[in-house]
């Protein structure tokens, strides 16, 4: 009996210590969305139960190892205890109840994070190897940054042009894959003004690690200022082919592979490429004329630059006019 009392006290002490220790360490990052609330609540409850179960196993185990260890010279066996059906039933039925409770709570919790706000701002998200494109249909603006006003739900309608990606801002907690050929949805209500980053959470190839873009949550006023600036910039850029090209390049994340300052990347740099002599992987050399640049965008695998044999540039669905605009932009990069 004495053993049980000591173990009982130690279990409680250990459970309390573990729980407060973990809490003091601070397990989750800052919570910056309405959806993070219920998730953190459930997580905290789980940490409590984990702390208790941890103590419940670890304390009697180490207690046995110390108190019931074999003394030197003792060659006898332990007590012949084969089992105890009542105990086995107890530790089957109680966990069964706990499992049911947690599943029930979990379902309600999931519903909480999926709550729909009819006034949500729609943003169309496209994942591209290895960049993000955000379209704001209300404003007719395309950007590679996600901007949203604080306190208003954002409905992300997401798809991918190539492989599976996953939208995750750790401070917002929720995560959703982007699947080519279909649209998935994610609802986020930002609650804290600040600069965050969306980080692709599903392995998507060579530069998966760098598939990150800013997510900027600001006051409604700041958001409106940024948005009107974008609208004006887009209008101005649309006047010239280079401007339209630059906007397309920014929105489609071309810079994820092609630098514009001559530095090395996954793909060849664009700086000074127009008109230069390009060595191809089959040993030949071509001059980078407009036609060459056009076909490199239209059919990227037809002519591969030497040193980039292992790369697979995706085929983008640009129209001929759009490609001409991009080529015009590339020609400005001297």
């Amino acid at each position: 009996m004495r053993h049980f009392v000591i173990v009982g006290i130690l279990v409680i002490a250990m459970a309390v210590l573990t729980y407060f220790g973990l809490n003091a360490a601070g397990l989750m990052p800052e919570a910056a969305s309405l959806q993070a609330g219920p998730i953190d609540w459930l997580w905290n409850l789980e940490v409590m139960v984990i702390s208790f179960l941890f103590a419940l196993i670890i304390v009697p185990m180490f207690y046995s190892l110390i108190v019931f260890r074999r003394k030197k010279g003792d060659m006898t066996d332990g007590e012949h205890i084969e089992g105890n059906a009542r105990l086995e039933i107890t530790w089957t039925v109680i966990p069964l109840f706990m499992v049911a409770i947690f599943a029930y709570l979990g379902a309600g919790n999931l519903a909480e994070t999926r709550r729909i706000d009819p006034d949500a701002m729609v943003v169309k998200v496209t994942g591209i190897q290895w960049s993000w494109k955000f379209e704001y249909p209300e404003y007719g603006v395309v950007s590679d940054e996600l901007h949203a006003p604080v306190g208003r739900q954002v409905l992300l309608q997401m798809t991918s042009t190539d492989v599976i990606h996953s939208f995750w801002v750790p401070e917002f907690r929720v995560k959703q894959d982007l699947v080519p050929g279909r649209t998935t949805e994610l609802r986020i209500t930002p609650t804290v003004i600040g600069d965050y980053k969306v980080r692709c959470a599903e392995l998507c190839g060579t530069s998966h690690a760098y598939m990150e873009k800013p997510v900027i949550i600001s006051s409604q006023a700041d958001f409106d200022t940024w948005m009107s600036g974008q609208v004006a910039l887009a209008a101005e850029a649309a006047q010239t082919p280079e401007g339209r090209g630059q906007a397309l390049v920014a929105a489609n994340g071309c810079a994820a592979c092609h630098s514009i300052d001559g530095s090395a990347g996954i793909g060849p740099t664009w700086r000074g490429v127009a008109g230069s002599q390009v060595a191809l992987s089959d040993g030949t050399t071509v001059t980078a004329t407009d036609d060459y640049l056009y076909s490199s965008i239209k059919a990227p695998q037809s002519q591969i630059v030497a040193g980039f044999e292992g790369q697979q540039m995706p085929v983008y669905g640009f129209s001929d006019e759009q490609i001409a605009d991009i080529v015009a932009y590339i020609k400005t990069l001297r």
Partner: protein
Amino acid sequence: MLFLLIAGVIGYGIGLGLDTLIMKSVRYSAPVPSAFALLFAFTAFFFGIYGYRGITRGLVYQIIGTLVGGLVVTGIRGLMGLSLFGGFFFTEPAWVFGGIAGAVSFLFGVGVMSDWVKWARGMDTPEHHEDEPGWEKYFDVSLDHKVIGIQYTVTALFLISVGGLFALIFRTELAASGLQFLNVGMSLFGQNGPQLYNTLMSLHGMIMIVSILLGISGIINYAVPLLLGAQDMAFPRMNAFAYWVSVPASVLLLMSLVLGGFDTGWTGYPPLSAKAPVGMQMFFLGVFVAGWSSILGALNVIATVLRMRAKGMTAWRLPIFVWAAVATSIIALTATQLIGLSFQLVMFQRLLGMGFFDPAKGGNPVLFQHLFWFYSHPAVYVFVLPGLGVISELLPVFARKPLFGYRWVAMSSLGIALVGFLVWAHHMFTSGMNEYLRVPFMYSTLLVAVPTGVKFFSWVATLWKGKIETPTPMLFVLGAVLVFLFGGLTGPPNATVSVDLHLHDTYFIVGHFHDTIFGGFVFPFFAAIYYWYPKATGRRMNEFWGKVHFWLMTPSFLILTFGMMRIGLLGMRRRIADYDPALGFDFTHLILTICAFGIATSVLIFFINFFHSIKHGEKAEGNLWNSRSPEWQVPSPMPAHNYDVPFEVVGEPYDYGLPGSKYVEFVGEKSKH
């Protein structure tokens, strides 16, 4: 060693020549020379130590088979007017067909098919084949389950060190943010740094999985017939086949590294896997071929347990490890097909343009994930159930007390196996599958906690009031319980959908599953090796170095996984070659890398101890652990056909502390009294 070097250079030279011929430029670090160098060196290594027979002949046949198969397809392509050669020498279809032809050729070359071939031609073969004495029998086909068990175990240890080496390489790259040596500028096997990172990370996963499958087969093959009192497995030739098929599978997997690699992780999700280089196909083939090993091995285990038990060994008197082996085999026998099938579908999508998972052709990428996880989740239980069986088998021996609640522990293994079939979609909570499906999968997944809990409570109750000894095997058993506890406790948060939306695809998951696999496989595997080593060799492994192994590996590993989980919660994603320095993870990652090297050092100590003790270990021919189990009632090492005198089961397996009780009695023993 000299053979290795020379053949490697010759192979490299031939490959470089061919590559230069086709590509019309000299590419020193290109895939093809590397592939040839790898194959030649591998073969020459075995030639050097063993000569041209057994495994060496198998590998030579595999090389020839691969080349002939590849050339046949290339010839057909020539007749059809298609391109003959690509950047990897052969075109992709030629490599795939060559890979299959090579694997089949290996099996003929090594001689595992020869009895079947003789039967087909109407010739008789002897029932048994006597093995050569000494170490040489391990390099040739043997029908003895003990030899096969050791072959499995050593192959598993080899693959563990390869997979571990890969982990060390990318773990070193992760020690600081930014790309240090796996950078964009470097090029090896036709891959730049981040691509090589992805390949190594992906292969680390699959090579470790194959090594686990071989490792559990090793323990099961060695121990189960001995525990049952059988002379051998039910189908000795199929047993040998199941082992030998894993060798060409391992070669195929390693070839995927040099043939352009692949960047999908071990999961191989399309559309990414539909676009990856030809290495992807070698990976698919390797897994496909290895799957045969698992399926046939499982079939054999079930047949053996059903038909070949000693007299009196009823279901409730089976050693508990046998229950675990059966539970595992049921899963492996019925689920492995699904991973083979799902990879085969992607293979066909790539080769023949079938659009199973291609949205542009009406295919569905999410369907792949369902097919894949329908095996790959239960597979986790294939990995851990035998290990949990080892824990349950060894705890009573070292606690000197009966296993608490034997029947409950036995049934909990079957319970885990059955529930394990109903939980696969918990890997897909963020995948975009039907939203309402997520809730039932949350219920079923949490349900796994119940039988797992029964095991933990029973283990602790077994220790309670025992007389606990802690030699090396017991240390690893206790380490397994502790580490598996961390794996088990961090599981349920992933099962609750909303919390998983945060945890999915982060280092939290990485930490969680490394805990479950180390606790459920690695620690028990080492425990089993330390425990049964004297049975196989008649000598025991060095106790001091065994304890050093344990006390170095356990803290390193615990810090490693705690660190992983911590940064995972804070935003560290899985499978990234580099991380944002703004997250402030640099210091933690440095610690994790140091811990990884700690584990590697401890395993190196284990290897030295393992091989050194074969000849120089302390003699241990008796019942070293004072166990009641039948295999310890006869002298070690075990004779070729197991028990000279059959035994009969006369009592409960784990009645430690019950005076005068016996588990087994050898026939004729009674009359001597």
